[in-house]
């Protein structure tokens, strides 16, 4: 099966700074993929590269096997919702739907009209006077009515209040249930994505720190608490460890069960897992390693 999104050694340079570098990632289709990382990790850059708004400085990226935005046919296969849901403030809701119909051969007029009715939007209202949540819903309707195979969303709920956030995700999940579309959505907060994602990629400082099926990630990570020791069996990879003089607390990745009786083993939440990888990447960053060396 063709990957919904596949990046190999992908990099993008802005002047002298790399916004994304050495990014290798394959996202299976039919999933709801969360792209998590702190602000500035390169999430927007990655998504813009995927939809052809940016050109890579090195490496390659493909959406459904196509080079991004290589022509109208490739453009028709994905839907993109950019950060802050851009719409034309002076055009009305109905104008936006008309635009979608004119510019997209596979436009689903019935779906768009029904969504707008369900949302209770006045078709004659100008997009500039909509609330943030309504604008996000309008932009989502435009992206979905295009009938794409992959839907890419850049921080779709970051600027929404909790109610609008919930409603937005409900709409999105209804679309997934009804049309079986692959979704890639980014957020700097794992809490936004926890309910909806079944596949996760953690992006830190322009690289993919970890990626995989959410249930598999949860199952293969454990929190261990026990008497202090510095070594672990080879099949366990320590993501994060903290020590007191008596006790060690670790977050480890292990595909085999942890059987050593000295450890008390607890499952991890997705939140713990993501935070551990974020901290690991931060501590591995070249800038902070001298300070650590001194501390040791």
């Amino acid at each position: 099966m063709t990957a919904a999104l596949e990046a190999v050694g992908l990099g993008k340079r802005y002047g002298r700074r790399w916004g994304l570098r050495g990014c290798t990632l394959a996202v299976p289709s039919g999933r709801v993929v969360g792209l998590v990382g702190p602000n500035g990790a390169g999430k927007t850059t990655l998504l813009h590269l995927a939809v052809g708004l940016l050109q890579p400085s090195e490496g390659s990226i493909a959406v459904l096997g196509d080079a991004p935005a290589s022509g109208p046919a490739a453009l028709a296969r994905f839907g993109f919702l950019a950060q802050d849901s851009p719409t034309y403030p002076r055009l009305t809701v109905a104008d936006h739907l008309r635009m979608g119909a004119w510019l997209n051969p596979s436009w689903d007029e019935a779906f768009a009209a029904r969504r707008i009715r369900e949302l209770g939007l006045d078709p004659r209202q100008r997009a500039g006077t909509l609330s943030g949540g309504q604008r996000a819903q309008l932009a989502l309707t435009l992206a979905v009515a295009k009938r794409p195979e992959v839907l890419l969303l850049d921080e779709p709920v970051a600027s929404l209040d909790p109610l609008a956030r919930r409603e937005f995700l409900q709409t999105l999940m209804e679309v997934v249930a009804a049309h079986g579309v692959t979704v890639v959505l980014s957020s700097h907060l794992i809490a936004d994505l926890e309910r909806v994602c079944d596949y996760l990629a953690v992006l830190v400082a322009g690289r993919v720190a970890v990626s995989g099926d959410v249930d598999a990630l949860i199952a293969s990570h454990h929190r261990l608490v026990g008497p202090r020791r510095d070594r672990l069996p080879a099949n366990q990879q320590v993501i994060e460890a903290s020590y007191t003089d008596r006790q060690s607390t670790m977050l480890v990745r292990s595909h085999d069960p942890v059987l050593d009786p000295v450890w008390s083993v607890a499952p991890v939440t997705l939140d713990d897992l993501v935070l551990a990888y974020l901290r690991q990447a931060r501590d591995d960053a070249p800038a902070s390693s001298p300070a650590l060396a001194v501390a040791r």
Partner: protein, 347 residues
């Protein structure tokens, strides 16, 4: 895509069309009256023509004064308020991310947007220019100096409008912000216009040169701020021509400089060479020196001839076409640059 481009420029285009319609209505009402006034007062005038002309020109003072600045400013306004925001606003507010991810290639999006808006802007400029040219036709006949309003009549403003629009679009794409793009468009447009007027237009065609005897030519003596009295050539080309220069030449064809002329006056016209006493400033020779003055003129005519270079009236339309062509070509070049920038460089 054409429908979307229309949808987005609808308000602006309709406003422009309404303004043109209002202008055309005002111009039609007053213009017809001006035509009949011209026929009655000036056309068949035999005596007191100066008075008749003055009476004619005193009508519709407001439009007389307003339409020339309007047509002068129109291309710059189109560039600033139509060309510059065209792409800058999309890039500035982020809506390009919406537009470029629909199922339409970026090049088609851009070409349609440039095409529809450019066509509307040029059409608008054309209609306004046509109206203004028609309205002024009687006044221009009275003024008899077609080259003086060269850049405000006939074809040239349409070329300027195309140029300003395309430059605005290009700068908007490059600068990605509306206000700086508007300012840069205005700056570049003014520079291009001034440079063309001063340094390019006079040399588009080799000027006609005529050498005439000073006995039939206009010239005078002048002393500025106490400097030695010298001669100035005030001759011009035939009626309706665009005089580029007039100067004194010797029999050998050498153009005399002002020091040489002062020396001549000093040597041969001693009576008028002494600057009059009194406060400094421009001054004429004393009135009682009329005979000496005349003698000096005759003397000068034996030494110098008057050289006038000019573009004849018959070349007016050639100049219109060339200048319009230059600005239209530059405009298309800017549009091509805009295309290259948006499809190759942006991102």
């Amino acid at each position: 895509m054409i429908r979307l481009a229309w949808l987005q420029s609808r308000t602006r285009t309709l406003l422009g069309a309404a303004a043109v319609a209002a202008l055309a209505a005002a111009a039609a009402v007053t213009g017809i009256r001006l035509s009949s006034l011209y026929d009655r007062l000036v056309a068949d005038c035999r005596t007191n023509c100066g008075l008749a002309t003055a009476r004619f020109l005193s009508h519709d003072q407001f439009l007389q004064n307003a339409l020339n600045p309007l047509i002068q400013a129109l291309p710059a306004l189109l560039g600033m308020f139509w060309g510059a925001p065209l792409l800058a606003r999309e890039l500035e507010t982020g809506t390009y991310r919406l537009a470029w991810t629909q199922s339409v290639s970026r090049s088609r999006w851009l070409l349609t947007k440039l095409g529809v808006n450019g066509l509307a802007a040029v059409l608008l400029a054309g209609l306004v220019t046509l109206t203004v040219t028609w309205w002024y036709r009687a006044s221009d006949l009275v003024a008899t100096d077609q080259y003086a309003v060269f850049d405000r009549r006939d074809l040239a403003p349409v070329g300027y409008a195309l140029f300003a629009f395309a430059v605005g679009a290009l700068l908007g794409a490059v600068l990605r912000r509306t206000l700086p793009a508007m300012a840069a468009t205005l700056g570049l447009y003014v520079v291009a216009r001034v440079a063309t007027t001063l340094w390019v237009r006079p040399h588009l065609l080799p000027p006609v040169r005529t050498v005439t005897s000073l006995l039939h030519a206009q010239f005078g003596f002048v002393a500025e701020n106490g400097s030695p009295v010298t001669m100035v050539a005030t001759g011009s080309g035939p009626p309706g021509a665009w005089t580029l220069s007039s100067s004194f030449v010797t029999a050998s064809g050498h153009v005399a400089g002002s020091a040489e002329l002062a020396g001549f006056v000093h040597r041969h016209c001693a009576a008028i060479a002494t600057p009059p006493s009194g406060p400094p400033g421009n001054a004429l020779p004393p009135a009682n020196a009329a005979a000496e003055f005349d003698a000096c003129r005759r003397h000068a005519a034996q030494t110098f001839h008057l050289l006038v270079t000019y573009q004849p009236a018959s070349r007016y339309w050639t100049f219109q076409w060339i200048e319009t062509g230059i600005f239209a070509a530059l405009g298309l070049l800017a549009a091509a640059g805009c295309y290259w920038w948006v499809t190759r460089r942006t991102g």
